[in-house]
C-alpha cells in the first residue's frame, strides 16, 4: 500500500474522467438524506456526506433484480437473461459498508456463486472514503474489528476533507483506476476520529444460544412494529424473495429484497408459520447476524454501521441488545423462562433513564 495526496480539484477532475468510462455511483443529497446514485454532474457528489440512509449494497444486490424474462412460445418457454452490467465505480463508500460487501461476498460468491452478484462485483471498483468524524451517533465499527479508516475492503481509500485527500491504493484494480489522477507523493493519514461507542460483541454466539428461549425476546419485541426497515437499511442483510411478475405483457422472474421481520417471510402456503411471533422474528435478526452466519461463514454478519438502531422508529437499538445479552441471566435451553421473568429490556443503561 502506498499513500499519496490529491487536491479537491484534482479529485473532481479525476472523477470526471472516471465518469466518462464507467458509471460513477456516489453519495448525493436527496430530500435531506444521502443516497448512492449514478452521477450526472460531478458537483452533485456529497464529498462530506454523513452516512447514506440506504447502504451502497443496493448497487450489487439491488432491491429488485430481474433474473430472466419469460417469453411464452408454442408449448415451450424462452428464458432470456438480463442485460449484463457495465463497468461501475462505486465512489465514497464508507469502510463499514465496504466491509459489509466483503461479508456479502462470502455468501453470494460461495459455490454455487450468484452470477448476477458476481458479475456486478467483478465490474465494480470500490473507492472508499474514510470517516472524518463519527457518521451516526449509533455506529460502533471498532467493536467488530473495523475502523473509520479501514482500507482492507476497497480498491482505493481516500481520507481527508475539505481541500486535500490522502490516497491509499489497496489493489491493482485501484491502481489502474487512478491512472490519470494528479497525485502527489507523501500523503499522510489524518488522525482517525474517536468513536463514542464500544459494544461488547465477543462470545455473542454462545450468549445467543443460551438466550434462545429467553423471555427477553418477547419484551424486546413488545415495541417492535414488524416493519422491514432494519433489514433493508442493513448493509449485510441479504434475504430475498423470488417471484414471477407480469410486466406489461410478458413475465419476469424477479428477485426482490425481503426481510425476516415480516410475518409473511416464513409463512407457508398452507398457513403454518414457524416464526409466528414478533419475538421469534426479532431473535432471528440477531441470531442470524451473530450466531448462524458466523457458524457458516466464519464472520459476524454485522459491521456496526448503526443504521438499524438509528432509523428504528421505536428505538430497538442493537448496541443495547448486545449489552443486554451479555448480562442477561439465562438458563440453558429447554428450561424455558428465565429466573427474572419480566427482566426489563435495556437494563444495561442503568437507572439514569428512570429520572425524567
Amino acid at each position: 500500500m502506498t499513500a499519496q495526496r490529491i487536491t479537491r480539484q484534482g479529485l473532481l477532475d479525476w472523477l470526471n474522467g472516471v465518469a466518462a468510462k464507467a458509471t460513477l455511483i456516489a453519495p448525493v443529497r436527496v430530500e435531506g438524506i444521502y443516497l448512492f446514485r449514478p452521477i450526472v454532474k460531478i458537483e452533485d457528489i456529497a464529498l462530506d456526506y454523513s452516512q447514506s440512509t440506504v447502504p451502497p449494497k443496493e448497487w450489487l444486490f439491488p432491491r429488485s433484480d430481474t433474473l430472466f424474462t419469460i417469453e411464452r412460445l408454442d408449448r415451450a418457454y424462452e428464458l432470456k437473461p438480463p442485460a449484463a452490467a457495465g463497468p461501475r465505480v462505486l465512489f465514497g463508500i464508507r469502510p463499514c459498508d465496504a466491509r459489509a460487501l466483503a461479508i456479502l461476498d462470502r455468501l453470494f460468491l460461495a459455490e454455487p456463486a450468484d452470477n448476477l452478484y458476481e458479475e456486478r462485483r467483478q465490474n465494480t471498483v470500490l473507492v472508499g472514503l474514510a470517516c472524518a468524524r463519527q457518521q451516526l451517533p449509533e455506529c460502533f465499527c471498532t467493536s467488530l474489528g473495523g475502523g473509520p479508516q479501514e482500507a482492507a475492503n476497497v480498491d482505493v481509500l481516500l481520507a481527508g476533507a475539505g481541500e486535500a485527500y490522502t490516497v491509499t491504493v489497496a489493489t491493482e484494480k485501484g491502481q489502474q483506476l487512478l491512472s490519470g489522477a494528479t497525485l502527489r507523493d507523501g500523503g499522510e493519514m489524518p488522525p482517525a476520529p474517536s468513536l463514542s461507542n464500544q459494544v461488547p460483541t465477543a462470545g455473542m454466539a454462545e450468549r445467543l444460544r443460551l438466550a434462545f428461549n429467553s423471555s427477553y425476546w418477547q419484551r424486546l419485541a413488545d415495541r417492535c412494529l414488524g416493519c422491514k426497515m432494519c433489514t433493508y437499511l442493513c448493509p449485510t442483510c441479504h434475504c430475498f424473495d423470488i417471484r414471477d411478475c407480469d410486466v406489461g405483457g410478458h413475465a419476469e422472474r424477479v428477485r426482490c429484497w425481503d426481510g425476516c421481520q415480516s410475518a409473511l417471510f416464513t409463512k407457508l402456503a398452507g398457513g403454518h408459520n414457524p416464526r409466528a411471533s414478533k419475538a421469534a422474528r426479532l431473535r432471528q435478526f440477531y441470531a442470524h447476524k451473530y450466531l448462524y452466519f458466523p457458524e457458516r461463514f466464519g464472520v459476524t454478519q454485522c459491521v456496526g454501521c448503526g443504521r438499524c438502531a438509528h432509523f428504528c422508529p421505536v428505538n430497538i437499538d442493537i448496541r443495547e441488545t448486545l449489552r443486554d445479552l451479555q448480562t442477561l441471566e439465562v438458563c440453558p435451553h429447554g428450561s424455558g423462562e428465565t429466573a427474572r421473568r419480566r427482566e426489563p429490556v435495556g437494563a444495561a443503561f442503568g437507572d439514569s433513564r428512570a429520572s425524567a
Binding site: 419469460i70 454455487p112 450468484d114 407457508l268 416464526r275
Partner: protein
C-alpha cells in the same frame, strides 16, 4: 398426472434434454424447485426413485397459487425444474435396522420414496422390519392408495392406515397418529423412525415415540420451510442454525431439537 387425493396430485416430469436426463442423479429425500413460468417457483420433495430410472415425480397438494397453477395444468405442459438440492435419507446406514415410517397427510409424499426404496424386492432383505403408518384426515385423503398393495405384500412389512374421520365405507382405524403409535408400540431396539407431516402431528408423534424409548438420534424427519433459492442465499429456510436447503431437508431431531420452537 395422477390424482392421489381430492387435493393432491402426483406429477411425472420428463426432462426435455436427454443429455440432462441421462446425467441426472438424486438420492432418497432430496428436493427440487418446480417452476410454473409466469406464476413462480416452489420447493417440493422428490417422490420418485432415481433407480430404476423413471420420470421425476412430485406429489403436490393444492395449497397456494403455485400449486393451484400446477393442478390446473394439462398433461404435456412445460414446467421448469431446478435441483436436486439438499441432503438425503442415509439409506445405507439404515440397512440391517428396522424402520418405522410415519406420514401424516401430504407428509407421506417424501416418505413414499423411502418406502419404495426399501420394498424393492432386490433390496428388501437388506432391511429389517418395516412399519408404515399412513394417516390422513379422511379415507379419501390417504395418498398413494395405488401402491398400498405393493407395500403391504412386501415381506416383513406392515402397513397401518388411520384416519381422523371415517366414512360409510371405512372399516379401518379412526384415531390420531400419536395414539396409533402408542397402540402399536414399535420397539426402539435397533430401529429408526422417520416422521413427516404437519407440525402439530410431528410434535405429538415425537413425544409418543420418545415415551416408547426412542432417542432423538433415532428420530428422523423432513422439515418443510418456505424456500426461495435452494442454495443457501435467500436466508429464509433456517430452523435455528440449520439451513433446510443445504443441511436438510432430512434431519434427526438430535440436530434440530433445540430449535424446535422455530418449526
Amino acid at each position: 398426472m395422477l390424482d392421489l387425493t381430492p387435493d393432491m396430485k402426483l406429477f411425472s416430469l420428463r426432462l426435455q434434454d436427454p443429455a440432462v436426463a441421462e446425467s441426472l442423479h438424486y438420492e432418497v429425500g432430496q428436493f427440487a424447485l418446480v417452476s410454473v413460468f409466469g406464476v413462480g417457483e416452489a420447493a417440493f420433495d422428490i417422490s420418485s426413485l432415481d433407480a430404476p430410472r423413471a420420470a421425476l415425480e412430485f406429489a403436490v397438494r393444492r395449497v397456494g397459487t403455485l400449486t393451484e397453477a400446477l393442478h390446473e395444468m394439462e398433461e404435456g405442459s412445460v414446467v421448469g425444474v431446478r435441483g436436486p438440492f439438499g441432503n438425503c435419507f442415509p439409506m445405507a446406514e439404515y440397512e440391517g435396522r428396522n424402520l418405522v415410517v410415519i406420514g401424516g397427510g401430504s407428509g407421506m409424499a417424501p416418505l413414499r420414496s423411502v418406502v419404495n426404496y426399501v420394498v424393492q424386492p432386490a433390496r428388501r432383505e437388506r432391511f429389517g422390519q418395516l412399519l408404515i403408518l399412513n394417516g390422513a384426515r379422511t379415507p379419501a385423503d390417504l395418498a398413494f392408495k395405488h401402491e398400498f398393495e405393493k407395500w403391504a405384500s412386501s415381506p416383513q412389512t406392515c402397513l397401518e392406515l388411520t384416519v381422523d374421520r371415517g366414512d360409510d365405507d371405512w372399516r379401518g382405524r379412526v384415531a390420531l397418529i400419536p395414539d396409533v403409535v402408542r397402540e402399536l408400540k414399535p420397539s426402539p431396539l435397533d430401529c429408526v423412525a422417520i416422521v413427516c407431516g404437519p407440525p402439530i402431528m410431528i410434535k405429538f408423534t415425537l413425544k409418543a415415540l420418545k415415551d416408547l424409548g426412542f432417542a432423538d438420534s433415532q428420530l428422523v424427519g423432513t422439515v418443510e420451510t418456505k424456500m426461495k433459492c435452494g442454495i443457501g442465499k435467500c436466508g429464509r429456510c433456517n430452523v435455528g442454525d440449520k439451513y433446510v436447503c443445504l443441511d436438510g431437508p432430512v434431519f434427526t431431531f438430535a440436530e434440530i431439537g433445540r430449535f424446535l420452537e422455530e418449526f
